[in-house]
């Protein structure tokens, strides 16, 4: 089983090839504004270096959010076009779940956090067995802090932007591809047409419209 993993939900491109449960190629590249430029060429390069023909990929595992709206769309568009074109299996995984799975610390609550500016972010809390205690959501940092305070045990925050006041409990996100792919390899498969970003947030225009209706 060859799985292609794609995550472009932040300013990094994280991608990997897993062949029979072994990671045989990986990319961890800070691309920032060039995400749309280099994502596909870098994936191509990775496949070539691993002597993997695009047709030999059996399944695509794509991170579909939350995170940067534009970033999410880059990965999801490539993944669904790929899966549709070559009739490959495709399933999705949450960026927060991928982050939670990547900590080296064990027997601990995992708090993945993606900063969304203005005191807000995308966060979740997973327990020792990676079950969601607080499901993926867009929330204020204050509310997250409050949820953390009430945790009955030790915790670690996995993030690329440390939370003020909790810096000592923060660790930098470094994806553990083997663990992510292993944990998500049986995630429910979708029809490529139905694979969509999970933004966890309405657009500003929709929010404003909703407020007006209330």
């Amino acid at each position: 089983m060859t799985i292609l993993y794609i995550d472009t939900t932040t300013n990094y491109l994280y991608s990997a090839i897993s062949m029979n449960n072994q990671i045989t190629g990986e990319i961890k590249a800070k691309l920032d504004k060039d995400l749309s430029v280099f994502t596909l060429p870098k994936i191509k390069e990775m496949l070539e270096e691993g002597h993997v023909d695009p047709k030999d990929v059996d399944k695509i595992l794509v991170v579909n959010g939350p995170g940067s709206f534009t970033g999410i769309r880059i990965g999801v568009t490539i993944a669904k076009t790929y899966a549709w074109s070559l009739k490959k299996k495709i399933s999705t995984v949450s960026s927060l779940m991928a982050m939670a799975l990547s900590t080296k610390k064990e027997k601990i609550y995992k708090v993945p956090f993606i900063d969304a500016r203005r005191g807000y972010g995308y966060a979740a809390i997973y327990d020792e067995e990676n079950r969601p205690v607080l499901k993926d959501q867009y929330m204020s940092i204050e509310a997250l802090k409050c949820a953390i305070e009430h945790l009955p045990g030790e915790y670690t925050i996995i993030t690329n932007t440390p939370i003020e006041g909790l810096e000592n409990n923060c660790e930098k996100y470094d994806p553990n591809f083997a663990k992510i792919v292993e944990f998500c390899k049986d995630n429910v498969e979708s029809n490529p047409h139905a694979v969509n970003p999970n933004y966890l947030k309405l657009t500003e225009a929709e929010e404003k419209q909703k407020e007006e209706l209330i």
Partner: protein
């Protein structure tokens, strides 16, 4: 010569579209998924919402186009895509999809300028004859372009502020016509009488246009009438406004044709569907013995058919891109 099939994707604004065109002239199949009903609620296109719908629909539109044509991606000679100008988030979805297709099927990737697409929409009716002057009028553009040959674009004039289509939509809003109001103004214009006096904007010897002043003049006029408790005769105002626009556009277009000694005019872009502009320029050209080409109404709005038509000539000229192609919100046509 072997037939060339171009598969094209267009997603620069609020339409997700795919098309297959043979030899740059013959439409095989086109699918256009418009989001207009979604954006109507917001009084205009909301970029983030547009992007979200593109990513949701892109593979379905690709599939439907191939099904409609009863062809496979393997049979295509190249993948063309609009890479700008347009809404960056929207463009991005089309470009990433096109890049992925080009990579997986090992086809040349052809970047197409959106305006070049609008110009080549005319090629679907009758092959372009050079030299020509192209009048590009849309919600985002008002330009006069001189072309000596395929893919030789020389911009000789353009709007200094608002595009003509933008001005139509804004004027529509001022007089209370729901978005997109441009086509309604055009319709009303044929029923009203030219009774309001509006200034002819940027009435000089250049090939440039300016529409923000005209828009302000309409705002002031409506404001003044309201203060005097005079009801606005909407249809008359539509007629006066449209006549002013048509007058300045046709004056500068005819001047360009004369100065450049060109006998072919093509009208392109969404506002090419405007009856006032179409009819006036067609009549003026007839009088001067100039051939005037206007695209079929269905090719005036954004569609991938025109991108495939333009892409064919880019393909012939080997104007291809690599997989690091990046969409741009504004690019010069060259």
């Amino acid at each position: 010569m072997k037939d060339v099939y171009i598969f094209a994707i267009e997603s620069s604004c609020d339409e997700t579209s795919c098309s297959i065109v043979k030899n740059g002239t013959e439409e095989i199949a086109t699918v256009v998924l418009s989001q207009i009903d979604i954006h109507k609620d917001f009084g205009g296109v909301v970029p983030e919402i547009a992007s979200r719908h593109h990513v949701k629909n892109i593979t379905m539109v690709i599939e439907e186009c191939l099904t409609k044509a009863n062809m496979t991606m393997e049979e295509m000679d190249a993948i063309a895509v609009t890479y700008g100008p347009g809404l960056i988030g929207s463009l991005l979805v089309g470009v990433e999809a096109a890049k992925t297709l080009a990579y997986l099927y090992q086809k040349p990737l052809i970047p197409v300028h959106h305006i070049s697409g609008h110009i080549y929409a005319n090629n679907l009716k009758e092959e372009l004859k050079f030299p020509l002057i192209a009048l590009v009028v849309s919600g985002g553009h008002t330009e006069l372009i001189y072309m000596k040959d395929h893919y030789c674009f020389e911009k000789i004039g353009g709007t200094l502020d608002d595009a003509v289509g933008e001005c139509y939509d804004k004027v529509a809003r001022i007089i209370g016509v729901p978005y997109p109001g441009g086509p309604t103004i055009d319709k009303w214009a044929s029923f009203g009488e030219d009774t309001y006096s509006l200034p002819l904007p940027l009435n000089d010897d250049s090939y440039n246009f300016s529409f923000s002043g005209l828009k302000s003049a309409v705002i002031n006029l409506v404001h003044n009438e309201k203060q005097r408790n005079q009801p606005i005769r909407k249809k008359d105002l539509a007629t006066s406004f449209q006549n002013t626009v048509v007058k300045i556009i046709s004056k500068k277009t005819m001047k360009a044709l004369k100065d450049y000694q060109v006998n072919h005019l093509i009208i392109a872009g969404g506002v090419a569907a405007n009856q006032g502009i179409r009819n006036t320029l067609t009549t003026l050209c007839e009088q001067e013995n100039i051939t005037c080409s206007v695209p079929d109404i269905k090719y005036c709005t954004d569609n991938a058919t025109m991108i495939a038509a333009s892409g064919y000539y880019a393909y012939r000229l080997e104007r291809t891109a690599n997989l690091d192609l990046n969409p741009k919100s504004s690019i010069i046509l060259k």
